[in-house]
Symmetry: C2
Subunit: 196 residues, 2 copies
DNA sequence: CCCATATTTGAGTGTTAACTCTAATTTGTG
DNA sequence: CACAAATTAGAGTTAACACTCAAATATGGG
């Protein structure tokens, strides 16, 4: 019955599953709104309408709840990581643009964790770097599909530049919620597509 | 003799000035290395070789010390904000590249604060946004100087895309200290310069 | 070298953080 | 509907946090 450090409930009843969802919802919106510093157990429990005892019945630690939300955010950046060879560059950029527009909380979590959490958690940093590399590969092959005459090395470099620029847009969105993500994503796409 | 909330020393002796420098050095490197969460009074004092009483003799609060370092970081991003009409685009990009390479601690402070501190401190967010706008203007006029036939609106948009992309590079540098900033800054410049 | 004042010391304050524990309650199943 | 297990309640523990203060010491102008 013991499962590592703390005993976490097996969640056989639906009440537990609903509570877990409420806690994750609260954690997600708190990280997005206040950052990691403002995301305390008390704040999470207040927002979720739950007491600390219930929290620790479902999560071994505060970090575990946060990491669950972070993994969710990382997964949400790419809509379909398995389909590796069909997306066009336009589709990839548009997908990221939609992610930023439609899931702003997750997008903010992604950026916040990239700069805050990665400093103290090496495993998380590795995960983010691997995720970045995967994204560059996808963008690179989309570029090569669009312009087959381009050398692979050149395409990869251009892909990385593009991904970094998109992250710059996401970063600025954290600072300025009114920032027009769509317009800038398209401006970026225009630049990237024009150059031979 | 009272100066607001707490009484901060007048710093007439050089001992106090040296201590203040050590505290600011410690604060800067701690924010860069561990983020805001890891930057505690105890950590600052240990690193600076000082006791809490000395800290509060020189700073009214922890926030004041952090804001001092943050202002320093914001100022360091632009080498000469007054010279408004002589820099070329190459020089502006190169200057940012050098800032990232030569003052990595300040660069990390800048990025960390942009996503962490700006959430809770509206005044800081406003300052960062104004700073961003100023940078976009400088980049925009450099572009127009280089390509006078370009419409101002178009130049401004391209400038903003470029600044955002550079911030994306700085963001990635926080994640990966081995990241080749120079190569990517130049790749970006190449793309921006090629397009008519 | 005096002495007003700047600076440092270091123990101490109150608060809040994460987390624990036992008892009470709710849930679904045989 | 009974009962075993899951879930919740809520007070309590421990540690770390930002910050204070009175006493001791160092500084440098006169």
């Amino acid at each position: 019955m013991k499962a590592g450090v703390a005993t976490v409930s097996a969640m056989r009843y639906k009440a537990g599953l609903e509570t877990k969802d409420r806690i994750l919802d609260a954690t997600r919106s708190l990280i997005a709104a206040k950052g990691l510093e403002g995301t305390t157990i008390k704040a999470i429990c207040d927002e979720a309408g739950v007491l600390p005892g219930s929290f620790y019945n479902l999560f071994a630690s505060k970090e575990q709840a946060i990491l669950t939300v972070v993994r969710e955010a990382i997964d949400a950046v790419d809509p379909d990581p398995r389909g590796q060879g069909t997306d066009t560059l336009d589709e990839l950029v548009l997908a990221y643009e939609r992610f930023l527009e439609e899931q702003p909380a997750l997008a903010r979590v992604y950026i916040r964790i990239a700069v805050s959490g990665a400093a103290t958690n090496p495993e998380l940093r590795g995960r983010l770097l691997r995720h970045h590399e995967g994204r560059v590969r996808r963008f690179g092959s989309a570029i090569q599909r669009h312009a087959p005459e381009m050398a692979e090395e050149h395409a990869t470099r251009r892909a990385e530049t593009l991904v970094l620029a998109l992250n710059g847009i996401a970063l600025h969105r954290v600072l300025d919620p009114h920032f027009d993500v769509a317009a800038h994503a398209r401006a970026l796409l225009e630049v990237a597509a024009t150059v031979g």
